[in-house]
Symmetry: C2
Subunit: 212 residues, 2 copies
């Protein structure tokens, strides 16, 4: 069955583990393209431009905003992050699914422009556990941890704007649940080109036996 | 996380294999209760009342209709089938998920009274394959096969009223897909009691580590 490209948004509070979940899901489901964000923050150790982010300076970022080339953008703790619009929209037009991993501010902006996206909120088992995870993540300073926990209460309340909530108590269970959501969304009648596929009542399998 | 009970409706054309899919899914996901239909048709070999159906006579069935005790009912090839309302509604009120396996006429009636149900259309790979399946199913007469294929075109067009469509080309893939849909629906924000669970920002795991 042919269908439209779906935009999956993996989001949640800082430190909840959404990056790890996204990485493992994309290794299991290889026909989803990851949207790469533009950012003005400095690369962390091991990060490369074009793979992890497009690392740009502030002038270049402002130009992207001015030219309406960003689907969303936000200032997070002094750094700018944004989602290049063209990649997402061109992929979906071709029937290609796209995944975005993004903080909550960004997800809420995306929702206004892409209300048909599938919004998945990755949820910590508790505020206490999130605090512990942030404290043991070497890349965060004590100051940034304090700031992030203060933002967390507001962030948790935003779950009501999402479609799904996935509890990240145990990584494999969280990954399996996100994979199930992707499988389910791909079967949604509203995402399938019914006129082309159903009216002649015959379905053409792809070369691997899956629906094409 | 606590949540409301969900009503899953497994439906599709006659002979598509929805009964087998339902059986295997319920063996894998054991905390869904199967709704048992009432019918006036005679038991097939091996069927028992209260397990496969409630086998009742026509007077009793009419009384169920008159007392508004059926969530839906239909005359299918001269036999009456109906879904007792009380079992479904009481289970869902307790947070218990319920599954119904039902023909398309029945599903469309259910949808009018339970629009929040999750409607899953099991789809044959092609009309030709459905014809072959019906012809090799020993319990159907040639006359009933002819009748059923005539109905099939109308049935296929009803997919637009469903939430999901699952292609039954290979049983295990179809079963896994239905299980994924169930997992996904259980994570839907609209099905979770957010006020109770999210506002205090702490989640209490069940004794097995799953969300309670």
């Amino acid at each position: 069955m042919t269908r439209k490209g779906i935009l999956f948004i993996i989001s949640g509070p800082s430190g909840v583990g959404k990056g790890t979940i996204k990485d493992v899901v994309l290794r299991k489901i290889t026909d989803i393209k990851l949207s790469i964000s533009a950012t003005t923050r400095s690369p962390r150790s091991g990060e490369t431009s074009g793979t992890d982010y497009f690392f740009v300076n502030e002038d270049t970022f402002q130009q992207l905003i001015n030219n309406d080339e960003l689907l969303e953008w936000a200032n997070v703790y002094g750094n700018m992050y944004g989602t290049p619009r063209q990649f997402v929209e061109e992929s979906m037009t071709r029937g290609q699914d796209v995944m975005l991993e993004i903080d909550i501010q960004g997800a809420l902006q995306i929702k206004q422009r892409k209300p048909d996206g599938v919004f998945i909120f990755i949820c910590p088992p508790s505020i206490e556990e999130l605090s512990l995870r942030l404290a043991t993540r070497a890349t965060d300073t004590p100051e940034s941890i304090t700031l992030r926990l203060a933002a967390c209460k507001w962030e948790m309340a935003q779950v009501k704007h999402y479609d799904y909530v996935v509890l990240n108590r145990e990584l494999q269970t969280a990954v399996d649940t996100v994979c199930a959501i992707i499988t389910a969304e791909r079967c949604k009648v509203k995402n399938i080109n019914l006129e082309r596929d159903m009216i002649d009542s015959t379905f053409n399998p792809g070369p691997d036996g899956s629906s094409g």
